[in-house]
């Protein structure tokens, strides 16, 4: 079996797994929605009818297949708290989350990479020690604390009071700066602390390879050694970390940032859904983000051969 076929089959099996777990948690053992729909004091016949409409009377497997079919056709039901279709809710909130999170996420990762290059270049001397010790202390500070300190400093009368402490009315670049600067700063700080040591270890590993010695012997300067020789060899782990932390940042990171700053993105929606036990919304977000992780991983496998010629997807796997 060629490698790409094997990888695709593996991804498909993972998809079955995550949809099964989301089905078990959210649908099968999830809340019984018939009472909520039936209203107050329903009789048994009414309840039975609603349960039939919801498909509660069907067999386990056929309910699971309905669940997969609904996900595949993005037929995600309606939110129980405000009656909007879930797909519409997501279409409205995902762009907001991307606007809040993506710039900070990318800037933070690039900054971490650059600082990691500095640390790896000056390994074991003071810039390296300073950066690695700072980032170790940095990852020990909870994301929460960073958000609170930053917003108290920048958004309250106690501090500089430069930005609004909550809210989201973005329609232009200037308004984006008003509302997204503080959340982005918090995200940049956390991303740098979180990634710096990992990227440093990657680069340090490459710096000890023989081909770097060759490059040095042939007169390559610091810039050329880092960007043209070492960096191309770290692209795969770098990209992997970037891609795999993206869904986590989008969902889990936005949960905290958006609920703290009152930004109407995916995080805020899932936060509200958790508290209102809004099963269709929660189910959609959990299932779709898990599917997103698997799809990203699957796509990444097809990018890797372009980054490292030694990887061959056509090869027969053992």
């Amino acid at each position: 079996m060629p490698m790409y076929l094997r990888k695709t089959l593996h991804s498909l099996s993972l998809l079955l797994g995550v949809t099964f777990i989301s089905f078990l948690l959210m649908v099968y053992f999830g809340p019984d929605r018939s009472y909520a729909i039936a209203g107050k004091n329903p009789d048994t016949a009414q309840l039975e009818e609603i349960r039939q409409q919801l498909g509660y009377d069907q067999a386990f497997l056929s309910r699971y297949f309905t669940h997969i079919k609904d996900l595949a056709s993005l037929n995600l039901g309606q939110s129980e708290s405000n009656g909007k279709p879930v797909s519409q809710l997501l279409a409205e909130t995902i762009p907001v989350s991307l606007l809040v999170l993506l710039p900070g996420f990318l800037v933070g990762n690039l900054l971490a990479l650059l600082l990691a290059m500095v640390a790896a270049w000056y390994r074991h001397s003071w810039p390296d020690r300073l950066l690695t010790n700072l980032s170790l202390a940095g990852v020990s500070i909870s994301f929460l604390i960073i958000i609170i300190l930053l917003s108290t400093w920048l958004c309250t009368p106690q501090g500089l009071n430069l930005f609004p402490s909550r809210g989201w009315r973005v329609d232009s670049l200037a308004s984006w700066f008003t509302y997204a600067t503080v959340p982005s700063l918090a995200l940049i700080i956390v991303t740098v602390f979180f990634n710096l040591r990992f990227y440093r270890a990657l680069l340090l590993d490459e710096m000890q390879q023989d081909y770097i010695r060759t490059a040095r012997a042939y007169g390559a300067g610091p810039f050329s050694i880092m960007f043209k020789e070492a960096l191309p060899n770290t692209l795969i782990p770098f990209l992997t970390r970037l891609l795999f932390s993206l869904p986590a940042i989008l969902v889990s990171g936005s949960l905290l940032l958006e609920s703290y700053f009152g930004i109407p993105g995916v995080g805020k929606v899932s936060f509200d859904a958790i508290f209102n036990a809004d099963q269709p919304v929660l189910n959609a977000i959990v299932s779709l983000s898990a599917i997103l992780v698997i799809v990203i991983a699957w796509l990444a496998d097809f990018i890797y051969p372009y980054l490292d010629p030694r990887i061959n997807l056509q090869a027969e796997s053992p």
């Binding site: 060759t214 040095r216 042939y218 007169g219 610091p222 191309p232 692209l235 030694r310």
Partner: protein, 323 residues
């Protein structure tokens, strides 16, 4: 003739190694266009010497003495990318497989060096690349290949092309054939010799393999534990080694003589790395050891005709022609 490389009284020790030095009081000259061989067992300081020549010693090394290349003193801790004495040197390494960047095509790797060192216009680089590939005996389609798609011998040819691209007058080859199989080894050695003569390069060939050195070099220096113990033209070393260590190395080369099977000789014991000894480093393994060998360090003496130097109190007599 003025030597292009002269190493004067060079000693280098690694941090944390105490008093033990990797290289001890080495003096060595390379004349323009001359091929010099440096022979010794692993750990004797050969690579350290090569790294010092390239100004690439690992940080924190303790060093004394100096190296002068084309009248310019070598800075042992050369910052990468700085113009310096080492621009006269190109170096090829022991493991061609790991010495090339695995994710960059070999054509690009060679072109980068052409761009850096020749005064060619960008448009002229592909032609120069083609020229270099021919010189090292690679076909033109190789430029698009990646290192893992080449055999060990081809990889070493790529490294040689990189060395030529550097347009240096001195080539340092550190065990260039150690990682290759026997057939390829001969091809690479012949190529090395051919390029050295053709391009009028000065060559420092570092190897543990005396037969490789014999094929390429005119002058040979034998190193034991960081010290040159014997230095002579290639012919003299092979016909009448004076130092017992040189003789031992020669006797350890297998020879095929079906009529007269010869028992392969080995050097007894292990290199003694303890510091603080005063006598000859080789004394503990030496078949010609005398009591005073362990008391005092033998200086490097010249013979009457001055072409052969050796550091031994009790050298093999001249009449002892190799059997």
């Amino acid at each position: 003739m003025e030597p292009i490389v002269s190493i004067r009284n060079l000693s280098i020790s690694y941090p944390g190694d105490g008093a033990r030095s990797a290289v001890k009081h080495i003096n060595l000259d390379i004349l323009p266009g001359q091929a010099v061989g440096l022979v010794g067992e692993s750990g004797c300081g050969k690579t350290t010497l090569a790294l010092a020549l390239m100004g690439m010693l690992p940080p924190g090394c303790d060093h004394r003495g100096k190296i002068i290349i084309a009248g310019q003193k070598v800075d042992f801790y050369q910052r990468p990318g700085q113009a310096s004495a080492r621009d006269h040197c190109a170096m090829i390494f022991q493991n061609p497989q790991t010495s090339l960047n695995p994710v960059i095509s070999v054509g690009t790797q060679i072109s980068r060096i052409i761009l850096r060192y020749s005064r060619l216009k960008k448009s002229a680089i592909p032609d120069r690349l083609a020229e270099l590939l021919v010189l090292v005996g690679l076909s033109d389609h190789c430029r698009k290949l990646y290192p893992h798609e080449l055999s060990g011998g081809m990889q070493q040819r790529v490294l040689l092309a990189m060395a030529l691209a550097r347009e240096a007058s001195i080539l340092i080859a550190d065990e260039p054939t150690a990682a290759l199989d026997a057939g390829t080894r001969l091809q690479i050695l012949n190529l090395l010799k051919q390029l050295q003569e053709q391009q009028k390069l000065s060559l420092l060939l570092i190897s543990h393999d005396l037969s490789a050195i014999a094929r390429v070099c005119q002058q040979v220096a034998i190193v034991y534990q960081g010290r040159v113990v014997e230095q002579a033209p290639q012919k003299l070393i092979y016909t009448q080694p004076r130092h017992p260590y040189s003789a031992g190395l020669l006797a350890a080369i297998p020879k095929i003589h079906p009529q007269r099977p010869r028992k392969l000789q080995t050097l007894l014991g292990e290199a003694n790395h303890s510091s603080g000894q005063t006598g000859c480093d080789f004394a503990s393994r030496c078949p010609r050891r005398e009591a005073y060998c362990e008391q005092q360090l033998p200086p490097l003496n010249a013979t009457l005709e001055k072409s052969q130097q050796f550091a031994c109190f009790n050298p093999r007599p001249l009449s002892a022609v190799r059997k």
